[in-house]
């Protein structure tokens, strides 16, 4: 240390030019937007006979997840992102050199899955074969709560109608979320006290208003009795259809459901009821990963 001080003292005295040094810069910036990755995927493969020198890594995610980085198959760094601390980073003052020729790989684990259940924002009745006889249509909005929209059989004419429900359920951070599951839940019932004709309820949905309704199920009764889904709803998993669309979030933003009720028999005492049609969306975070470094 004594020598060092002496040497340094000489510098100003000798009026020496101080040399500026520039560290090896990181000219490779790789950014990835990835959902759940149960098995290792390749992020970055170096050129032939070259090694990756990793200088910084950074991750942000809307939901909790563990991000595991590895040198080919060998894990070397785990970054855990949690909801309140959704951005983490690690810089290496001494660049981390991966084995020559090896790729930087990534996998995820312990992903948080977040589920939201939404009721309809608006309910409107439209004609079904020329009639719209549902009453208390607005009771079908929101989550299931026991208030019902009803279609009663008529004494003089057949009754029917279609309730169309519209939603507002696009999460604000949807760009950073990945859809894992979409389920429609129909809370409805059909009750016959009079055995005349056929009473039915038909369940539909569609990804947007430009396409035809997709029929999921038709439930009919012609004998006295009831089918009641007011507590345990009829559930349909439409995940594959949503994920099959070119923009799944566009489907979530525009989808509609509808519920048709019909009574073909004349006489009072038969009812079709709808409490709510809920949509449950389960999501995982789309992790945003950036790695910085260079190859030598």
């Amino acid at each position: 240390m004594k020598h060092n001080i002496q040497a340094n003292n000489n510098v100003p005295a000798a009026n020496q030019q101080i040399l500026l040094t520039i560290k090896e810069s990181s000219n490779i910036i790789n950014h990835y937007s990835l959902g759940i990755q149960p098995s290792k995927i390749i992020l970055w493969t170096p050129g032939p006979q070259k090694s990756i020198y990793l200088t910084s890594v950074q991750v942000s995610a809307p939901l909790a997840a563990s991000i595991l980085l590895s040198d080919n198959d060998i894990n070397f760094l785990s970054l855990r992102v949690t909801q309140p601390f959704s951005t983490v980073s690690q810089a290496f003052p001494s660049a981390f050199k991966l084995t020559t020729g090896n790729s930087l790989m990534l996998s995820t684990s312990d992903e948080e899955i977040s589920c939201n259940t939404s009721g309809a924002l608006t309910a409107t009745q439209v004609d079904y074969n020329g009639r719209s006889d549902f009453t208390n249509v607005n009771n079908a909005i929101g989550l299931s709560n026991g208030t019902l929209a009803s279609l009663n059989s008529g004494l003089l004419s057949q009754t029917r109608g279609r309730i169309v429900l519209q939603y507002s359920m696009l999460p604000t951070q949807y760009k950073y979320l990945e859809i894992e599951q979409v389920i429609i839940k129909y809370y409805c019932s059909l009750n016959l006290t009079l055995a005349v004709g056929v009473s039915s309820m038909i369940l539909y949905w569609r990804p947007n208003t430009q396409v035809d309704w997709i029929k999921l199920q038709e439930i009919s009764l012609s004998i006295i009795g009831s089918v009641n889904y007011l507590t345990n709803p009829i559930e349909y998993d439409i995940t594959d259809m949503v994920l099959g669309a070119s923009d799944p979030w566009d489907v979530i933003n525009n989808l509609q459901t509808s519920f048709v009720g019909t009574h073909t028999g004349l006489g009072l005492g038969n009812t079709v009821q709808l409490d709510a049609i809920e949509i449950k969306i389960c999501m995982a975070g789309k992790n945003q990963i950036t790695v910085f470094g260079y190859e030598i």
């Binding site: 340094n8 200088t55 601390f85 951005t87």
Partner: protein, 123 residues
């Protein structure tokens, strides 16, 4: 290591030692935004120069996501700020080198106040 140690002692015994200093970050950009930003340029290098980013810091009073973009508005970094993590900073021991004339732009996820500081130099 032994060789290295010997070399060091030779250096310090020289009459005229080599003295080096790391290249300084002589550019500090500070910007504040209050409205939604989409690909707003925040650092345009001088003609035929490259940005070398050595540190950055962002803060916001309300949760939002700050996305930093490079050429063609391609995202290269996404920073999610929350009420618990309202200030985030990272320094790069190895400066991040952008291509010649490549600019850095910013996109925010929602309207809201966000402060951003970028440190670095151009070469």
């Amino acid at each position: 290591m032994d060789n290295n140690t010997k070399l060091m002692s030779i250096v310090f015994n020289l009459e005229d030692p080599i003295f080096t200093r790391e290249y300084p970050s002589d550019i500090v950009l500070f910007r504040t935004f209050t409205t939604l930003q989409t690909n707003t340029p925040i650092w345009t290098p001088s003609a035929d120069k490259s940005i070398f980013l050595t540190a950055l810091q962002v803060s916001a009073p309300a949760p939002l996501v700050v996305q930093l973009n490079r050429v063609n508005n391609a995202a290269f970094m996404s920073i999610a700020l929350t009420t618990t993590l309202a200030t985030y900073g990272i320094s790069f021991p190895s400066p991040i080198e952008f291509n010649l004339n490549e600019i850095i732009s910013i996109t925010t996820s929602v309207a809201g106040t966000v402060n951003i500081t970028l440190l670095g130099y151009e070469l």
